[in-house]
Symmetry: C2
Subunit: 443 residues, 2 copies
């Protein structure tokens, strides 16, 4: 009987291992994809693409078991050679090759030069070619940073006593309602794809007090803009026993601070590759919706057209205002008008035309919507009825209020938008591995 007893030690070394160990002057085995070959005649530089970065190997005529002419870019190889210091090489090391073993070969040359520092093609082309354009060092670095954001979000909330939950994506009724839902047939029943985990995360506040989920949400919105996706990752949390919605904003500020610190610490290399200038979330101004509108209208001499919502241009101007006046990258806009917020939002008892809710703007774009929720069954039913909605399909949601819910609230943050703005990009497709929009279902 054969037994499997845990991770097998590999003979091949990764870049971090080469740098950490005592390998200078020693023979090592490495593997990787042939990122580029610079053939100088008697000598050739074969740069390998590995998960931690690039590794230079050096071919010298007569010292190896192969002919450099037989080696193709984008082959994957295993190579044996002696490690040497070399200031001009990535990480200051190179491997002087003795032998290679070809693991796989490409059938065709790349349609784009993925080994260039910057890919010059249009975004649409790059997205069409994502399965391979992501192999570019700068393209892939964006998604390492995105990984770091999610890790930071989860780790921070875990330490704050939140529990991670997994809520269903096929639902009988979406949280927001309206037309922007994807519908599907579920064994003869009408079903929808979840627009948000709203009902479920509130439900789970009744169970664990504090919960979070980082998962896909689906919106059949017919906008094809630089900021909309039809499937995106929502970073959601919901917390009970709050005294006010300021606690939710405070928790988000804490999460952002933690995420930015984590990126600085664990993703320094990727930040450098992407040329990222991290923002500060230390002190985030908070201003009422109406005041914010007023201020930018005055400062930038722009008439207020829609008193109930922020136009995208206003979001840009508000961000500009707070950057200019307070050097702030983030700004909370509070007390949104009640009529533009979902029914479960708590109205401000001081003025019920407004709500105890907020958006977070970051460098000109809304990345978060959050607020306190109604936790009293009667108040919730009144709001449902006042909006002309019906309770059908909400029985399980209403059940939690019937049997007691603490005061609570939470938020949803769009991962791709947050990543986009951290990276200084202006199209959310830049920071979505495989974006889904009005005209794109592939790759």
């Amino acid at each position: 009987m054969e037994f499997i007893s845990g991770v097998m030690k590999k003979d091949t070394l990764e870049i971090g291992e080469l740098l950490a160990g005592d390998y200078l002057g020693k023979k090592v085995t490495v593997n990787g994809a042939v990122h580029s070959i610079r053939d100088m005649g008697d000598i050739a530089f074969v740069v390998l693409r590995k998960r931690e970065g690039l590794l230079q190997t050096v071919f010298e005529e007569g010292k190896t078991n192969f002919n450099i002419k037989d080696l193709k870019e984008n082959s994957t190889i295993e190579a044996v050679g002696v490690m040497a210091a070399e200031d001009r090489a990535p990480n200051g090391i190179e491997i002087r090759l003795e032998s290679i073993r070809i693991l796989s070969e490409p059938k065709e040359p790349m349609p784009i030069a993925i080994n260039k520092w910057q890919l010059k093609s249009h975004l649409e082309t790059l997205v069409d070619l994502r399965p391979i354009s992501l192999r570019n060092i700068r393209e892939r670095a964006k998604f390492k940073i995105q990984e770091g954001i999610v890790i930071g979000f989860r780790d921070f909330l875990h330490c704050q006593g939140f529990t991670e939950i997994r809520t269903p994506k096929i639902v009988s009724r979406g949280a927001e309602g309206g037309a922007n839902v994807f519908k599907l047939d579920y064994f003869g029943k009408k079903a929808e794809l979840a627009q948000s985990p709203q009902f479920y995360k509130q439900t789970m506040v009744g169970v664990f007090d504090r919960v979070y989920e980082a998962a896909p949400v689906f919106r059949a919105e017919k906008h094809n803009t630089h900021r909309h996706l039809n499937e995106y990752t929502s970073l959601d949390f919901e917390m009970g026993y709050i005294e006010g919605f300021e606690e939710i904003m405070a928790m988000e500020a804490g999460a952002l601070q933690y995420i930015l610190e984590l990126l600085k610490k664990d993703y320094a290399n990727e930040l450098r590759i992407c040329g990222v200038d991290l923002p500060s979330a230390q002190n985030i101004p908070a201003i009422k919706f109406e005041d914010a509108k007023q201020k930018v209208s005055e400062k930038y001499d722009r008439p207020i057209r829609n008193p109930y919502d922020l136009e995208p241009e206003e979001e840009v101007l508000i961000s500009r205002y707070f950057k200019e006046e307070y050097d702030a990258d983030f700004v909370f806009i509070t007390h949104y008008p009640s009529k533009k917020r979902p029914f479960y939002t708590m109205d401000d008892p001081a003025d019920t035309r407004f709500t105890l809710s907020f958006d977070l703007l970051f460098r000109g774009i809304e990345i978060t919507t959050g607020g306190q929720r109604i936790h009293d069954l009667d108040m919730l039913r009144e709001k449902i009825s006042a909006r002309g909605m019906d309770e059908e399909g909400m029985e399980h949601y209403l059940m939690i209020f019937k049997h007691g819910m603490p005061p609570h609230g939470g938020l949803g943050m769009g991962l791709e938008r947050l990543t986009m703005k951290i990276l200084g990009k202006d199209n959310v497709r830049e920071t979505t591995l495989f974006p889904r929009d009005l005209s794109r279902l592939e790759p």
Copy 2:
């Protein structure tokens, strides 16, 4: 201008804080849901349900600002009182109440006694009532353990150099094909819900070498059994530069060992509540498909009916065999017949009727399918064509092989099944927050 500068310190204390601090004999503020009231006349025990467990508070007639008759179970309250040692109370402490503030009240009594240790209702009833039945201490403990499994899976792979990815769930073509896909209209195009992240995770091996994702998958299977769900969480990883599929099994064994250690360390309380006896994943036997079939057929005198797949009863018998013979809870079944494996599975060069693939059985049920994938474009195309499939909709998948892929493989593990068997349950609905099956779309 108001500024939000990070997490606000709460006046209320959690159980961990009460136990860690110097609070004996001191006045403290706590909050929670009224889990149970035991009214003895002059004295009453009011047990609060908090996220970390139960907290006993004591009402004494004349010493507080309220009448115990006015307090309802399942209200949420904030309470002030003096902390005292009390061996018979949970965690050895109690709060002697001075005052309470009611934060919310239920409208109706619970339809089930969620404050009982064990809920006696049928599973179907409990699932119907999940929004509130999850408030039961043992019910919710199952999902804390599930959280721990996911955290362990991710942390382990992160440390092994894997990158977390987020792949689309709305796709133009599912990985497995066949009839068990949910279809939807995507702005006039035919779309499907992803049955697995297979194509995308292989694609990302070309980018990051090693990747993982813990996310929902969707299968429109018409089985209504104790082990099938139509939406479940798949713990996926995929790794490049493998020498053989044994490396994948070894990585999975490592992940399971790490997860079990993490549960033992960080979820000891929940394990105790659920009465869990953790299995060992130290040495997992691996046996060929045909040999496993043969062995159980002989030992348990059972004819082999289907030579190409394992029947559920055979999975149970194989597990029983390895428990009896080797005291093993897990067993890898390797070299599945080629005709029962997806087209992208690498055939065994030694005997192409079989594949370099495996399932992992755990206590009688398959929890993982994995294996080495074909990385050569020509070999892949031959397999597609031999199966009478066409390449339409696979252009982006084939692109990665055209431009070079390392030898690679991976697996998908069903989170709910793994949780179920760790907990010693026999219905996957027990360990799914809000299960989706043939007849269930709610709650």
